[in-house]
Symmetry: C2
Subunit: 344 residues, 2 copies
DNA sequence: GTGCACATTGCAAGCCTTTGCAGTCCGCAC
DNA sequence: GTGCGGACTGCAAAGGCTTGCAATGTGCAC
């Protein structure tokens, strides 16, 4: 169906080896030959067969991305960013959605292992031991998760939570709840940790942790009434999607968010700046996250050169933490009135 | 790094050929040998190298999906569905996001061509001729787009629009606007067509077409004031994401959607049933869309058998149109009062 | 003029499977 | 007892590319 290197070789009157070299290591071929080969190749629309090249070199030029739920805007943004960065450095990416079910992961990784140079495993809820196991099949970078000493890229959840709670504190809130995400989620455990620490650092704050809830819109809806019953004047929600759900239900109950109840969440998905009230949220810089993950992965086996013309962050450590920023918007405001919890 | 067929062969005391056969065509191997080979293979965690298999058989077990914008929930749902269906029939999928820019497509397809058995090209805005060209590189299925006689799977946009307009008509609306999506979008042109036809079929309806707008939240925001200025009592919007934007701005202007202005759109993304007011929308059955596309693609080269245990729709025609359903929800309601346009 | 270094290029092996063909062995029929 | 078909199995080629090594040819120094 498509032309091969030997077609090019025949037409250019050279051997296949020369064709290969002319296209991959141009300086090992005389200028004249190189030009001729390249011209014939272009004329034929020749592109080397990646699979064959992979067989020969052991490098496939492919990456895998294992993601929990493409329908969560946060993860689809990550997918978009990873895919975009990968393409800009000459890699194609396999995407596999696990439906928030880490049981599928080993099978997926095994199937991908031979045709990728590595996989980015996003927000896996598998245990440390399981993850170490998976890393045996192929190179693995953990995204939004740390485990053992596997290479990983994570957002600074603890600091993000600190920023969120301090912001609420500065607004006068003294009774703050955390609406937690799924059990076994590493991010959730980090956010809980940050929540506890931040609460302990600040004076006169009463904190309470709710959940686990599902990390979907529906999870937020489910959490809403519990939050209202808790007496908290402000709430930090595991992620934006849940916050959206919570807002919806809270508004339905006639509460004005930003005045009667302040809401902060995590991720900064596109919609969170679009809805009313605009959502105060801890923004994870997704492009940076994706870029770091890919550079880390490539750094694991590329000798340093990389794709010419594309600057790459030099990889130093194997466990990266990306700084996060609190985006203050309309969903948070001053505590409405002296609240009974202040008296305590 | 990983074991190969020859490792298995050595340990099982047979030849590589036998290993291959034991694993792919078990009935050509004696029961005893087969069992031994399978056991050794399992013990070694052996999985055939897909790339090598692809070289040998010409079939890769991979699919490509080219999608305009992963951050649009409609497309991320499609990606999820395609990926899920593909996996269930034993295929892995490459995902490439073009950022709504069809210029990238040829390059992407060319790079993927040799490592996939086919490509699903979603909502491409390329011209017919360009698409025919792309189909020369590898098998191509068009999704949300028809062109020439290329195989395609599309939603029934015209009928969807008919349903939408009739619904508005039944509610008493006689002055209806269409907020259009991007120029050169095939779906948009179909929806415009349906809009014009539906308007012509119904008595006393005044229709007007606005746009083109960008198919994002921001596009809807931009359209809002124009819609309000148009005097229309009801509006059909190109897609849900835009409708969300429009709603936001319209609400900001103090208009109550569902009472003072009725809004219908297309896609039925998850959020459209979640926000207030819930969005009346033409639902595209995405799983069916994805499933049809994949089955069509596989039907193009699999001899009929397919993966055992997984039923597949028998492919008859090459251009499929998927029926759509209007989901009536809160964003549409009876026309508020006799409107001047009624008098005309 | 001779020899040598070096730049080019081709040969052939190797990467891992699959698969047509051929060989071996067995059992059975005549 | 001989012959034959059939069931298994191995050999080897093929698929497209990369790359170490060898071969060729050139230019230059001495």
């Amino acid at each position: 169906m498509r032309s091969t290197a030997s077609d090019v070789a025949r037409l250019a009157g050279v051997s296949v080896s020369t064709v290969s070299r002319a296209l991959t290591v141009p300086d090992k071929v005389s200028t004249l030959t190189r030009l001729r080969v390249q011209e014939v190749a272009r004329g034929l629309g020749y592109h080397p067969n990646q699979a064959a090249r992979g067989l020969a070199t052991g490098r496939t030029g492919n990456l895998g991305l294992v993601i929990p739920d493409l329908e969560n805007p946060y993860f689809s943004s990550i997918t978009k960013a990873v895919q975009s960065r990968a393409r800009s450095v000459g890699y194609a990416v396999f995407v596999a959605d696990t439906d928030e079910d880490s049981q599928e992961e080993p099978e997926i990784i095994r199937n991908l292992a031979k045709q990728v140079d590595g996989v980015i495993l996003c927000s896996s809820r598998a245990s440390d031991a399981e993850l170490v196991d998976r890393a045996k099949e192929t190179r693995v970078i953990l995204l939004n998760r740390e485990a053992a000493d596997l290479p990983s890229v994570t957002a600074d959840n603890v600091d993000g939570m600190r920023q969120a709670v301090r912001h609420l504190w500065a607004l006068g809130h003294r009774d703050i709840a955390y609406v937690g995400g799924p059990v076994r989620s590493w991010s959730d455990s980090q956010r809980r940790l940050g929540f506890e620490r931040a609460g302990a650092e600040l004076e006169g704050v009463r904190t309470q942790e709710l959940g686990a809830f599902q990390p979907f819109f529906s999870g937020g809806v489910a959490a809403a009434d519990i939050v209202l019953a808790s007496g908290a004047t402000a709430v930090v929600v595991y992620n934006d999607l849940m916050a959206l759900g919570l807002l919806e239900r809270v508004k339905e109950r006639g509460i004005v968010v930003g005045r009667e109840l302040s809401v902060v969440s995590f991720d900064d998905i596109m919609l969170s700046a679009a809805i009313t009230p605009r959502l105060t949220t801890v923004a994870v810089p997704i492009p940076l996250l994706a870029r770091t993950a890919i550079d880390l992965l490539l750094g694991l086996f590329e000798d340093g050169a990389g794709t010419p013309g594309v600057a790459r962050t030099r990889v130093v450590s194997l466990q990266h933490t990306i700084p996060v920023d609190l985006m203050v918007r309309g969903s948070t405001g001053p505590v409405p009135k002296p609240h009974r919890s202040l008296a305590r």
